[in-house]
Symmetry: C2
DNA sequence: CGTATGCTCAAACGATCGTTTGAATCGTGC
DNA sequence: GCACGATTCAAACGATCGTTTGAGCATACG
């Protein structure tokens, strides 16, 4: 059902590319199926409609991304109480790894677009399926920053979310020559993001 | 040519509303002219094309917004060297006042969408017409934060820009009952944004 | 009064959209 | 080899898109 060269997967790959480049409305099913090298009717056959295809593009990436975040968070509390930087790392590192993995960077663009579009249907979909992740991290932040009122904390989390979404939507357009400099650059980038987020969350 | 009840202005107002709600592609000229209460052909008559209308929506707001920013910045250096918070205020306050002025809030949504869309045509338009503003503010930040390398500074400015764009695209959806609480709330909001931005820019 | 100019209007243009259809083709188990 | 479900295909559907057209209306100037 999900073989890497299957019609279904080629459609999802082309959808990620074209949704990132031209948006959900701007990318037509004819461009999309031509890019994927499949018949026009294949989208409605395999996914039912264009809107269901959009949901599947999100589900495929976000299932893994948020599972990685929860796993990283669960692994923290084992020995000592987690620090703010550690919790931020658990949130950011999975997204950053996705951003540097082939088509994953394209998906971060798609995600940033969806954020900016304020689409109620998609927001409800994200909230219902992945809301528990943000709730868990918010609880951790509240524990680590007890001096902040709840509105104040929500303000800062919202600002950090906006900064990270904006930043990661610009990644992955350049390919590095070897894995060493690639991995070094990723660690450096993550330090930027984590220190920025920590400063924005915890400033007096 | 720009009378407040003119066909031209009614089109611009409806365009701001529908572009914010449904995006540039999603808002059709038929919905748009119906909302404005004008004939379908009026858009092409007054603006030439839909794309020119989009540019005019940006131009109308950004001319005033960036002029206010430059004026606020110029007014700073008169007596003593400006502080980081003052420079940030010069950048943020005009945008925040626009966000709380009727349809201005809708425009901030349009602006956030345009940022997320990574459209090259629009980016070039913004860079050519308003690039000098960002360059001026960047120079001020570089002066106030000499300990940061240039790449480091650009990183932080990009993150702050993302946070502010994301935050302000969510404003103005609620109307307050009186001008007093309205203005108090705006000042409080601006303090949030400025302190967050200052912390993100200047952390060690 | 006549007419030129700026603007509005209903109607239509060709293009493109998402979706549906029914026949053709493929792959498997009997 | 044959039947049957799964998949692919070319073709067409009605709807909607941005744009153009040419007639109609207004207002101001000689």
């Amino acid at each position: 059902m999900n073989a890497p060269g299957s019609t279904r997967d080629r459609i999802l790959g082309a959808a990620e590319l074209l949704f990132a480049q031209r948006g959900f409305d701007g990318a037509s099913l004819r461009q999309l199926t031509a890019t994927a090298g499949v018949n026009l009717a294949a989208v409605n056959y395999h996914f039912g409609s264009k809107e269901k295809l959009v949901e599947e593009v999100f589900r495929r990436r976000l299932d893994a991304l948020n599972a990685n975040r929860m796993a990283a968070l669960a692994q923290l509390g084992s020995e000592h109480p987690a620090t703010l930087e550690e919790v931020l790392t658990a949130y950011i590192r999975p997204a950053l790894e996705l951003s540097h993995d082939g088509n994953g960077a394209l998906f971060m663009r798609v995600l940033a677009r969806a954020f900016a579009e304020h689409d109620d249907t998609l927001r409800r979909f994200l909230s219902e399926n992945y809301g528990h992740v943000m709730r868990q991290f918010t609880a951790e932040f509240a524990r680590l920053l007890p001096q902040l009122s709840k509105p104040e904390l929500y303000w800062r989390i919202d600002l950090v979310t906006g900064a990270l979404t904006h930043a990661m939507s610009g990644f992955g357009m350049i390919q590095r020559k070897d894995d060493v400099s690639e991995q070094a650059h990723r660690e450096q980038t993550m330090q930027h993001l984590i220190r920025f987020a920590a400063a924005g969350l915890s400033h007096p």
